[in-house]
């Protein structure tokens, strides 16, 4: 479904990603792990079209997308939940969600999706008239993920959803992601919480200093000696 081929990318004169290649197949939940500053967020931003490539190719459903602007990539079915969340803080929860479905013109489909989202995140329904900017950190994360789901994406890129959350909220966020996969949405997840992530993801890639250094089924990655030392502290 998603394929990165020899991506080189970065910011102005700073190259961050070096020859990064990986793939995510339909229905998978793939984890991208690595230390701080490795380039995980940069990878997701590049897929979403927020950063232009120096070289390489990104394919989505066999189509080249790296020459397309962000809004078209989003409309093609890729939803990116950034680490900054990029919520519309001066708008209500409901308006944020409706904007999530911007590309869906059919009002009925929009409202159906909204009802489904409210079922999945009852807390957001309770707060639907509250301004996004006045919500707590955990609620904002929920809202960002929910907004990302409103466009009925085929693929979701989620950047560190558990960062700064209490353990019980982290659990909620993870179960939302697992539910997503059950509904047939493909997920590429960047996470600091390596242990938990490797236990529910299908496959994983390890990114270090802008290079993919390891890949495989999550179980195998979790058992790997280097990963156990560097990320799991065992």
């Amino acid at each position: 479904m998603l394929e990165l081929k020899n991506i080189n990318a970065g910011y102005d004169f700073l190259q961050v990603l070096w020859d990064v290649s990986f793939r995510v197949d339909e229905g998978e939940l793939v984890a991208l792990i690595g230390p701080n500053g490795a380039g995980k967020s940069t990878t997701l931003r590049t897929i979403a079209g927020l950063i232009k490539l120096k070289s390489g190719e990104i394919l989505f459903n066999e189509k080249v997308i790296n020459d397309k602007p962000t809004h078209l990539i989003s409309q093609m079915g890729i939803s990116y939940v950034s680490e900054k969340l990029n919520l519309f803080t001066g708008m209500s929860v409901r308006e944020n969600l409706i904007l999530g479905a911007y590309a869906i013109r059919d009002k009925e489909v929009q409202l159906e999706t909204l009802a489904y989202i409210f079922e999945l995140f009852p807390r957001l329904e309770e707060r639907k008239d509250q301004l996004a900017g006045t919500m707590s950190g955990g609620e904002r994360k929920m809202l960002a993920i929910a907004r990302g789901m409103m466009s009925k994406p085929q693929l979701m890129l989620v950047d560190e959803p558990s960062l700064g959350l209490q353990p019980n909220l982290t659990q909620d966020v993870f179960s939302a992601l697992i539910q997503l996969r059950e509904r047939g949405v493909t997920v590429l997840l960047v996470e600091q919480n390596v242990n938990a992530t490797l236990s529910f993801s299908d496959r994983a890639y390890v990114l270090e200093q802008g290079k993919i250094v390891m890949e495989g089924p999550s179980k195998e990655i979790k058992a790997n000696k280097h990963v156990r030392n560097a990320y799991l502290g065992i």
Partner: protein, 345 residues
Amino acid sequence: MAKNSSARPLMSRIKDNLPIVVISIFSLILFVAIYIEGGNAQIFNTIITGGMWALLAVGLALVFGVMNIPHFAHGESFMIGAYVAYFTFTPMQEYLYTNPNKFLSAIAPLGAILTAGVAGAILGIIIEQLIFAPLRRRTKKDWIMNAFLLTVGISFVLSNGANLVLGPNFRGISRYWDVKAVEIGGAYMSVDRLIAFAISMVTIGALWFFLRRTRVGRAIRAVSQDETGAQLVGINLNFIQTLTFSLATAMASISGASLLFLFQAYPTVGGTPLYYAWYVVMMAGLGNVVGAIIGGFIVALLQTATQLFVAVSWTTVLPTVVMILVLLIAPSGIFGSEVKGVQEQ
């Protein structure tokens, strides 16, 4: 005990909104003073002037909020609107002079004003696509400064262009509607003034509805709050920015057209309106559309009060002093700014 707990929040709320409270009280005092000294006539005058400034300031606030452009060519959009209305209206007027027709006489001015609005919208699209869109694609670095310099350049080119093509002559009309003034509460208001006010209110109301209730209007607000977030939900930034600039230019043109009886068309006619509109948005809060509407009326109050109680020649001095005072106590304006993108870029 109970008395204390109910009084507390009120006091702290007043404290949180100090600039708004101070300005509200100040405006109320001005309002009453103007009423006592000038009666209904001056009050109506103030409200009508306020509507004009609001219409212009809303466009500035929108362009700053959505595109982060400090727009200093907004006065030239006003100027173009005035010219377009003049050159559309006068031939119609001549024709109607020889072929009197009541119905046509009533709607001809509206046709001229509408034409000016359409011309403004088109001009806005051209300027945005020709100047700002290419700059946006090239670099976002120092955007506000570059955009500001470009608008100054546009202003210079447009006013000198008008001078070159049309000369420095004043082109005006004495009135759009050749009917008697209307009496309201003992004060006489010309129909032109009343309709100019109605047009500014209807235009602002339509914009308000568009921004709050429609899909594309919501997208405009989304861009002003988080550009990246807007792109991520599938909003075409380029389209929204061109649309916003076009809307703002059209509003300024409509303003220039509907006030043709007051401001004759000449190359630098946009100076005064630009000054007041900027004054409104700086006082109300950059990029704050609602603030710009209220601010328009506050500035008009200050203007009338200065004319009544100080001297006509002080009309621009006193508002400036008040603006500086406001910015000293509330650096982001009375109503604050909801613009987020500016500091980040």
